[in-house]
């Protein structure tokens, strides 16, 4: 397998306000995010040579991007890969540029969940109409929690307190994110007293149902500095799909996901990371549920297997901790407009690496990880970004394959 390292750069990003956007259409949110990115990158609509759209089920084809933005007769493609759909648009856009086919492209992701009429995610009923008739996203992820607790002998009340600390951390970080759906800090007591959605996951263990859009403008790494002095370089992208739904996978231990581990390994190898806990400065991960974030710590090699609880208690992943995770509040505070999430997690890393994260800025951040995990779950995408300019060797190799010298 090859590497995407330093072949492409992000020169502009945009992110709509996330929330219950009753008065905003999908087109409104796409315009909101993309025009922020145009301004950020200093590009015009005609500079965009191709576009990708990630959405789970809010639209078919990429037509809404062409229609909303009046992009005329360029290639626009919809991609979908469960909750990794946003990252999938970024990934395909990056490969489009790295192939030498395009110089400047747009990756957009959005989801309009609040037009569906229910409070929950509403993606229940699984992949089989009868066998999984009562399956829901909270069910899928609570299986991890109850198995993790039983395997490691963690009493249920203690397990719930551990998860509550993740919720409290992320909502605190979200209180400093003006674009987040929820911007109020919460307490452990609030989390523990909240109604149960799917045991042991309570209301604050689950991300809200949210509308939102986010996007990135990507170009050849060697021309990035024509647009701005602080472009952010794609250092590695990994994507991994597990085989067989976890609920019915023979012998599966439910303590973590190979999709996470292998997506991270692919990305780490491209970047040359061997000690992720030390080398990565911050991570924006898929905390669709608090338990998801807990096992991600172990899957990514941040915590040793079985030791995520120790690191949670030690505050390792808080804003001031050794490795801040979900500095913007994550899905817990932003919600999870499915197709937008991969680009929103990337947006936070992008801003942090540019030193533009305001009160939640992580000091000296140079290398950040953005992640999404999709399905029940089954597919993971890990993107690693850095603010260090490419080494001349790699930069010239990109230049020779590029269309414009």
């Amino acid at each position: 397998m090859g590497t995407i390292k330093d072949k492409v750069a992000i020169i502009g990003m945009g992110c709509s306000k996330f929330g219950e956007r009753w008065d905003a259409s999908p087109e409104d949110m796409i315009v909101e995010a993309v025009y922020e990115a145009y301004e950020d990158a200093g590009v015009k609509p005609d500079d965009i040579e191709a576009a990708w759209l990630g959405t789970l089920r809010s639209w078919e084809s990429g037509s809404i991007v062409a229609d909303a933005l009046k992009l005329k007769n360029i290639p626009v493609t919809r991609v979908e890969n469960w909750c990794a759909s946003g990252h999938e648009s970024l990934r395909n856009a990056a490969f489009g540029v790295a192939s030498g086919m395009y110089d400047i492209v747009l990756a957009v992701g959005f989801e309009k969940l609040k037009d569906t009429g229910f409070g929950g995610l509403g993606v229940g009923r699984g992949t089989n109409p009868v066998l999984q008739a009562r399956a829901t996203a909270p069910t899928y992820f609570s299986f991890i929690a109850n198995r993790y607790f039983a395997h490691y002998g963690i009493p249920e009340d203690e397990g719930k307190k551990l998860l509550a600390q993740i919720a409290v951390k992320n909502h605190y970080n979200g209180s400093m994110s003006p674009k987040a759906h929820f911007q109020k800090p919460i307490t452990i007591e609030q989390v523990l007293k909240a109604p149960i959605i799917a045991w042991p996951l309570g209301l604050f263990d689950c991300c809200p149902t949210t509308d939102g859009a986010a996007c990135a403008i990507i170009c050849r790494a060697d021309i990035a500095r024509k647009f701005r002095q602080d472009p952010i370089y794609v250092k590695g992208i990994g994507l991994s799909m597990d085989s067989m739904l976890p609920m019915v996978r023979p012998g599966f231990d439910y303590l973590g996901f190979d999709a996470n581990r292998m997506a991270a390994r692919q990305a780490y190898e491209q970047v040359g990371i061997s000690t992720p806990r030390k080398e990565i400065d911050l991570a924006s991960v898929h905390d669709c549920f608090t338990i998801t974030e807990m096992v991600i710590y172990e899957d990514f090699g941040f915590s040793k297997p079985g030791h995520a609880p120790d690191d949670i208690r030690a505050g390792t992943y808080t804003l001031e901790g050794e490795l801040p995770v979900n500095t913007d509040g994550g899905l817990k505070a932003f919600g999870h407009p499915v197709g937008a999430s991969g680009l929103r997690t990337t947006y936070e890393i992008y801003k942090q690496l540019q030193g533009k994260a305001g009160p939640r800025q992580v000091k000296n951040a140079e290398l950040g990880l953005a992640h999404t995990l999709g399905g029940p779950p089954q597919v993971a995408c890990v993107t690693i970004l850095g603010n260090a300019a490419p080494t001349p060797t790699i930069s010239s190799s990109v230049a020779t394959t590029g269309k414009r010298q």
Partner: protein, 472 residues
Amino acid sequence: MSGITAIGAYIPMYRLPRQAFAQAWGSGGGAGERAVGNHDEDTMTLAVNATVDLLNAHGREGIDAVYFASTTASYREKMSAALVAAAADFPATVRTMDFGNSVRSGTNALMAALDAVNAGSARNVLVVASDMRRGYPKSDQESTFGDAAAAVLVGNATPAVEVIDRVSLSNELADVWRRDSDQFVRTWEDRFVIQHGYEEWVKKATKALLDKTKVTPAQITKAVVYTPDARSHQGMVRTLGFDPAKQAQDPMIANVGNSGAAHALLMLVAALEEAKHGDKILFVSYGDGADAFLLQVNATPKKAKAVSGHLKSKRTLASYDKMLAFRGTLVTNPEAPLRVEPWAASTTSWRDQAETLRLHAGKCNQCGTTHHPIQRICYTCRSKDDFTEVRLYDKPGTMFSFTRDNLAGTLEPPVVNCIIESDEGKCRVFTTGTDMDAMLAKVGLRVEFTFRKMHEGAGFHNYYWKVRPIAG
């Protein structure tokens, strides 16, 4: 001589104390409690579970027909016996037949089964009767009725219980009926109905049978006499010349309720559980006439849980309203908590039949990995199309992980969604717990499979196997 070789039964876990009817309406109700099918049960699921109970005792060997009887089959058009035979995992060569429209249809099916075996056209015929009749809210029937199913296996290879002789009488009378447009059972004036319906014809059939066989009431060990209600039973048994205390089989109105087409067979199964060599049994059912049988007991038929096993495990239904909601009499908020329409397709249901109705898994012939749903390529060794189908519901399993989901959308939240590790090849099965206190769900809980209705996606009934804690 043909007769009964094995027995089975199914009584839903939920019982509603009859005082609940009096509490709701200010009067009525009566004594005891009635069996109430859970929200995920219907006539078909009761029949399948009773059939599997019988098969757990006898196996499938040598059974070449499945006869089904009910007044409340889940389909007006589409054979119920075919569904029961599929879920009970019989091959296509099994002869299937439906009987219905009368509470006597259970013994009609038994008569036909005896005829088939006597004629030599079938070696063993499985007869299953199941009913979930609905009385009008505030009616006596509503509290007197109960939901249940019973199964008997008819064969002629030295049966445990021989059928010595039988009589069948037909009578046209609008005493108890339900038009094709009715949801609830209708009746005429009680005194007329009992006198000229039930009493007259049970007496006529019994007399005809005893005269024909030259047997006196005193020679009968047990009189298993169907009854529409508890009060009529006492008088009838006495009128027929039996000692109610010593000879009468408990009519099970007090603890189950009148289970319609299943009820006579349910009483018979209960009687045969305790029958001993040498016992003579009079068995009479009623409905648009009467059927009477004289049985000679050689041995107790093969049985698993049967009636006694099912009576032992029960849960009290919290309220009358829940019974109404379970049956759809009371329409509850369809939009809570999820506005997601159940979906299905006849094509997928047909293709997936082995893994949904029959609960088959695929066991890899190379490495033994067992998959549900069935996989063409083995997860472990990637062998292609090299597996043997194994039935999972014969063996219990262990809860590998679980949750109590409050938003999964049923009448009885929380839904215990769970992953089961089957004792059959450690096969993982994703399903739902039922008939249980959700708080009992935990990693390591031992469970058994039970056939249930999932929903009516695509306008037909969709069934699958759920799990419940192993009783005791």
